[in-house]
């Protein structure tokens, strides 16, 4: 059977899309609803994944405790980044967030004693020993898989189980974020996006709300980082390079800014292009080997984005009217 028709293949694409849904949802809160240009989003994903792995391997924490701590640490990093920078104008904020993300990544590369260095988390326990942080996760996943088997039989593989778990969490988070932005709290975020001077003239503490948006986005990125770590059992600093942040932006723009339900749509489309094209075994993709396809997909993503901005700047689910309001 060809790859393209197999359930396993689509399950893998779906897992990637699910992880990116959670990641991009954080950006939607920051950029789509609050107007913050955070170009360092991948760093929070990295902080989440690394904190969890380090606590499990080096401090012997149980996985769940380490995961909660990882989210808390990512929020802490969000506050740390926000306190000195959120008073900056949008473009300056963007520059400092890029710098922040690169600092995080370079620390991950160079602080080998803490992070395992450039080879990744496999070196967390020191040389000569292959470290693993997700024994507890695999056990949990196995038990979920056993439960799934009762329902869908032998289709319940590891990837399908992961697919169910990631999307269950992603949907819960989507519902929660959607509910939150419809409240008076969300109204304040949107007012800051539209005009922060007007918001502060009307008695809103703009700085405090930007900080909250940054913290919420950081927490969501950390959760995405955790799932990323669980899925791949091993990761390295290169997994969180700036490209990841731009993928998240691609998803938000692809789906439509300030539309939560556009995030999974954008993420699935992105997942198909990104993870999918590698395994597309029909022309024109079959003319290229899989290594070449790995690069072609970046070109495809770029072209899709350009085409979208040209022909549908509001994204797939966005409202065109909103784009022309001045």
């Amino acid at each position: 059977m060809s790859t393209i028709a197999s359930l396993q293949f689509w399950a893998f694409v779906g897992v990637i899309a699910g992880i990116y849904t959670i990641l991009a949802l954080g950006l939607q809160v920051q950029f789509g609803f609050t107007g913050l240009l955070n170009f360092g989003h991948a760093a929070f994903m990295a902080v989440g994944a690394y904190t969890m792995a380090i606590l499990v391997v080096k401090a012997g924490w149980p996985l769940w405790g380490a995961s909660l701590a990882a989210i808390a640490v990512a929020i802490g990093f969000g506050l740390l980044l926000g306190l000195p920078t959120l008073r900056l104008r949008a473009d300056y904020l963007a520059i400092t967030t890029i710098a922040f993300a690169e600092i995080v990544r370079y620390v991950a590369i160079n602080a080998q004693g803490l992070t395992g260095g450039p080879v990744g988390t496999i070196a967390l326990a020191g040389p000569g020993e292959a470290a693993s942080y997700n024994r507890d996760w695999l056990e949990f996943q196995r038990s979920v898989q056993d439960g799934l088997e009762v329902v869908i039989g032998e289709n319940a593989t590891r990837d399908v189980t992961m697919l169910v778990l990631v999307w269950a969490v992603a949907l819960v988070l989507l519902v929660v974020v959607e509910a939150a932005v419809r409240t008076p709290w969300g109204r304040v975020l949107k007012s800051i996006r539209d005009d922060e001077d007007a918001a502060s003239a009307l008695g809103k503490n703009v700085f405090a709300y930007k900080l909250q948006a940054l913290a919420v986005g950081a927490a969501l990125a950390a959760i995405a980082g955790l799932f990323f770590a669980f899925q791949f059992s091993f990761f390295s600093p290169g997994d969180f390079d700036p490209l990841v942040t731009f993928f998240a932006y691609t998803i938000v723009i692809l789906g439509g800014t300030a539309r939560n339900w556009a995030v999974p749509v954008g993420a699935v489309l992105f997942g198909v292009i990104f993870a999918g094209t590698r395994f597309f075994d029909f022309p024109p993709f079959s003319l290229l080997d899989s290594g070449e396809r790995a690069y072609v997909r970046l070109i495809v993503i770029g072209l899709v984005l350009i085409g979208l901005v040209l022909f549908r700047p509001q994204g797939l689910l966005g409202k065109r009217e909103e784009m022309v309001l001045e």
Binding site: P184, D194, G203, E321
Partner: protein, 258 residues
């Protein structure tokens, strides 16, 4: 009683002294106008009063509490609200949402209260919505409540800002050219509303406008600025008769207005 009081306030931008030791008083329940030629420092002074600019010197008292150097949102919570010369509509929010946003004391603006006390959030939201719709009726925007604020005309945005400002429950409203772009019949109605709000709710209005005829007819107190300083203050008649004012401001036309 003086509600807003500025003493020797100064602010420079580079070599330009935008406000250069201005002192003034706005009486409670008055409609006070601030006039002066372009570049006299009126808008800078409004920015200082509303917390957007920190003065280099001097003090600003609101109801006998110092507010200079406090951030805009803190000044607003003490009862001072301002509008902008170029209206700041929240474009991608509905007209109604623009006004809802301005309401004070909505516990639902805090995440933990949304979870802890959803009932009080909903109750307050109902109150706010009723109040907001009433204010929109006042400025004749009730028919556009669900439209994006970004679709409004310049004059309609002025009106929206007026409604939004009142929604914050202020004691004093600073209006920066409130009537610019508003059709004359509606402008007259708004002036009537200002008088009514002053009588019924004890509100104070402090406005900058270039329409001298309107300013002189509506205000019970006029403050004249020139080159960063207050050069005259008094009733419209007193100010009209002041030779300094005629010279600095009205004198460019070679005659007094009236």
């Amino acid at each position: 009683m003086s509600l807003l009081q500025a003493d020797d306030v100064a602010k420079r931008f580079g070599g330009l002294a935008a406000v250069d030791g201005a002192s003034l008083t706005v009486q409670e329940r008055s409609i006070t106008a601030l006039i002066g030629p372009n570049g006299a420092g009126k808008t800078t002074l409004f920015n200082i009063f509303s917390g957007f600019i920190r003065p280099e010197r001097g003090s600003v008292l609101l109801n006998e509490v110092r507010i200079d150097g406090r951030p805009p949102h803190a000044v607003n919570r003490r009862g001072l609200v301002r509008t902008f010369q170029t209206p700041r509509a929240l474009r991608r929010m509905s007209v109604l949402e623009n006004v809802l946003l301005a309401a004070p004391h909505q516990p639902g603006e805090r995440l933990w209260r949304l979870v802890a006390t959803p009932g009080s959030v909903r109750r307050r939201e109902r109150e706010i919505e009723e109040q907001a719709r009433e204010l929109l009726r006042l400025v004749r925007l009730d028919g556009l409540a669900q439209e994006y604020a970004g679709t409004l005309s310049g004059g309609q945005r002025k009106l929206l800002e007026f409604a939004r400002a009142l929604m914050t429950g202020p004691r004093i409203v600073l209006l920066d050219e409130p009537m610019a772009g508003v059709s004359p019949p509606l402008a007259i109605q708004l002036l009537d509303h200002m008088r009514t709000l002053r009588e019924e709710r004890g509100l104070t209005f402090f406005l900058v406008d270039h329409d001298l005829e309107m300013v002189m007819s509506v205000s019970d107190h006029v403050i004249v600025m020139n080159e960063g300083r207050v050069i005259a203050a008094g009733t419209p008649d007193e100010v009209r008769a002041d030779p300094l004012v005629v010279d600095a401001y009205l004198g460019t036309h070679g005659r007094a207005v009236g």
